[in-house]
């Protein structure tokens, strides 16, 4: 779960990591109240989770309070990459001497957390890594001993800092580690971490992605997520509520399957045959009929969907349950959109019988079914 910039900065502040003076505003009154407390020049930043917010016009600058109010007003009426701006973060611009990068994420191969730091910051870390690989410092955190102040000092030294600056970075790095651990962050980064013209350090932007699987330990964010404050499509919100893994894509073939790998391979196969998937939807393992019906309803509620592909390889999931779910959904939604069903595995015969009796044709080969649905999406159903 991606946190908003203001949420991330509030967390950093809690861990005594300096951030620019600033605050959140959702309307004009709040904007006015805020700007009187802040010293221009100011930055006004749309609180949206889309990548490339800056380039998409989501960050404005103002040299006066009046200008800042105008900028905030403008942003609060705008959409950034299709997402309505509900709040803006207004903060004092800082005097940049140098932009650094410091982040902590997971290292799959080493089964641990890893610090990535660089004396080049302000762009995506992947970009830094490809442009100036020699400036990337990687520090693997030993899960037994954790990340200590002295590790922070070692990194600060490798970044070329000494004296008070080294001690200041020590506190910031160590604080970020604790914040990351306490909030179950799968990614926590300061980018840029700015060295100011007077030699201080300020986290000018911060990003935190909380491990979805750990949200049970962070009820405040779980609630925020469920309240729909984040930027989910209606389908995504409905899927989340029903514990279905759904991702909206650009095409017109609705896809439902069991197991993330199988669904991904289904999308790939559709694409291989020239079709365009409208979504990813994994019903997970052992889904009962009602859950499958919900999945169908979600996918069919997307107006872009022209045809539906249900691809089930029954292991824990029972084909008869899937068949019943399909009929249930059909009855409730009353859809006339064409469906291609591929159903093999546990209780396959019973599933096929149920569907065949309802005049729904069932295929056995994934490839064949994919070809069929692509055809339909292009030229219409039979």
């Amino acid at each position: 779960m991606k946190l908003f910039e203001y949420e991330a900065k509030n967390i950093l502040t809690k861990y005594k990591i300096p951030t620019p003076n600033g605050g959140l505003a959702t309307n004009l009154n709040q904007t006015r109240e805020l700007t009187t407390k802040l010293k221009p020049p100011l930055a006004i930043k749309a609180q949206v989770l889309v990548a490339g917010r800056g380039k998409a016009g989501g960050i404005l600058f103002a040299n006066s309070t009046a200008e800042a109010e105008k900028a905030a007003e403008k942003l609060l009426k705008t959409q950034i990459k299709g997402i309505a701006v509900k709040s803006v973060w207004i903060e004092e611009k800082i005097q940049i001497k140098k932009e650094l990068y410091f982040g902590i994420t997971t290292d799959r191969f080493n089964q641990s957390y890893i610090v990535i730091a660089s004396t080049v910051g302000g762009m995506e870390i992947e970009e830094i890594a490809s442009k100036t690989p020699e400036k990337i410092i990687r520090f693997l955190i030993n899960p037994h001993s954790g990340f200590h102040s002295f590790h922070a000092r070692q990194i600060a030294r490798k970044m070329g800092y000494a004296g008070n600056q080294l001690s200041e970075l020590e506190r910031i790095f160590e604080g970020l580690y604790r914040a990351g651990m306490d909030y179950d962050a799968e990614l926590i980064e300061m980018n840029p971490l700015v060295e100011t013209t007077d030699g201080k350090f300020v986290a000018a932007d911060a990003r935190i992605i909380v491990d979805d699987n750990a949200l049970f330990r962070h009820q405040e964010y779980k609630n925020r997520l469920l309240e729909g404050e984040s930027e989910l499509t209606p389908q995504e919100a409905e899927a989340m509520k029903n514990d279905l893994a759904y991702v909206k894509l650009d095409g017109n073939i609705g896809v439902i399957g069991n197991g993330a790998g199988l669904v991904m391979a289904t999308l790939d196969t559709i694409q291989y045959y020239g079709g365009k998937p409208a979504n990813f939807l994994d019903i997970g393992g052992g889904a009962p009929a009602e859950k499958i019906a919900t999945a169908l309803k979600i996918v069919l509620s997307d107006p872009k969907v022209k045809a539906l592909f249900v691809n089930i390889l029954g292991g824990i999931t029972r084909c008869d349950e899937v068949a019943r779910g399909i009929l249930e959904a059909k009855a409730k939604v009353g859809t006339t959109k064409p469906m291609v069903i591929r159903l093999v595995g546990t209780n396959e015969e019973e599933g096929k019988r149920i569907l065949t009796e309802a005049h729904i044709h069932v295929l056995e080969s994934m490839e064949e079914a994919a070809q069929r649905v692509v055809e339909i999406s292009k030229y219409g159903g039979k």
Binding site: A51, T106, R108, F109, Q111, S112, Y113, I125, E126, A129, S130, N142, P143, H144, M181, D184, E186, D211, D212, N213, A214, F216, R217, A245, V247, L249, D250, G257, N258, G259, A260, G261, L262, V263, M264, A265, L267, D268, T269, I270, Q271, Y272, P277, F280, D282, G285, G286, L313, G314, G315, I316, V344, G345, T346, S365, M366, E367
Partner: protein, 290 residues
């Protein structure tokens, strides 16, 4: 020889009284797996399928000295269950549970490393040595004993490919799911090493997906070590857009390593044939004429 588990494996089931745990215990018993006891805190003293249930692994071990455990415990408590198994001397642990927090998984793996234990999963269908033993939740009837080793990051996709192999009479030595999470016990390289040593295995099918760089590292390993057995790869997620998580906690593209292109390219330059569709794997294997 086969990999990790065989007929002699004596396993306990942690979370045996839950819906998933009891259901799959039954299937595993039917398949011939030697399940010796179950553990569910608070249910000690009861029985299920004639197996004794204990409150603690400690007690189960005192009485049964198992050497493997399969864990069905719900996510918030699964790491504790794994640590319990580790501390009580169990060296092979299959964690079926999905949605375990990363921080918990990191902790479990660190302890496993310290004591030299093998963790399969979390979020894995488990491991099966067809017709001999299974510690997992895979539908057993689609597998057949033979000489192909399968290692995968995904469940049903493995079944899809294994079933198509079985249909073409290409039996399997061992099929193992690493697990779909970002932090898993085994990685592709660990498993390639096991398959290398296993005389039963003549070729390896490696089923990867987008996210992370474990496939890239495996490709580099195959190239660097001149891996002696043929490897066929399939990568799911060619059509996935970056930044979107595709179901598995691991399946998200962040950065270049992680894309299907990156993985496919690396495998190809390591001399590994990459199937374009799941169905193509069996055909590529058939061409090897092993």
């Amino acid at each position: 020889m086969v990999v990790i588990i065989d007929e002699k494996t004596r396993a306990i089931v942690q979370g045996i009284t839950g819906a998933q745990g009891s259901f799959h215990t039954k299937l595993m018993l039917e398949y011939g797996t030697k399940i010796v006891a179950g553990v569910t805190p608070g249910k000690g003293g009861t029985k299920i399928y004639d197996l004794p249930v204990y409150d603690t692994v400690e007690e189960a071990q005192e009485k049964h000295s198992a050497n493997a455990s399969i864990i069905f415990v719900p996510a918030p408590f699964a790491a504790d269950a794994a640590l319990e198994a580790l501390e009580n001397g169990i060296k092979t642990i299959v964690i079926i549970t999905e949605h375990i927090p990363i921080k918990d998984a990191v902790n479990v793996m660190a302890h496993a490393k310290k004591v030299g234990a093998t963790i399969i999963g979390p979020n894995t269908p488990g491991i099966i040595t067809p017709e001999k033993s299974k510690l997992g939740i895979m539908p057993a009837h689609i597998f057949k004993f033979g000489s192909i080793g399968i290692v995968s990051r995904s469940g049903t996709l493995t079944y899809e490919i294994a079933a198509s192999l079985t249909r073409k009479n290409l039996g399997q030595s061992t099929c193992l799911g690493l697990g779909g999470d970002p932090i898993t016990g085994l990685n592709f390289i660990d498993t390639l090493k096991m398959f290398e040593k296993d005389t039963q295995t003549k070729a390896v099918v490696l089923i990867g997906e987008i996210g992370g760089n474990l496939e890239e590292l495996a490709a580099e390993y195959i190239m660097r070590e001149k891996y002696p057995k043929p490897v066929i790869a399939f990568i799911a997620g060619r059509s996935a857009p970056p930044g979107k998580r595709m179901g598995h906690a691991g399946a998200i593209i962040m950065g270049k390593a992680g894309t299907a292109e990156s993985k496919i390219e690396k495998f190809q330059s390591a001399g590994v044939k990459v199937a374009e569709k799941p169905g193509d794997v069996a055909e590529l294997l058939a061409k090897l004429a092993i």
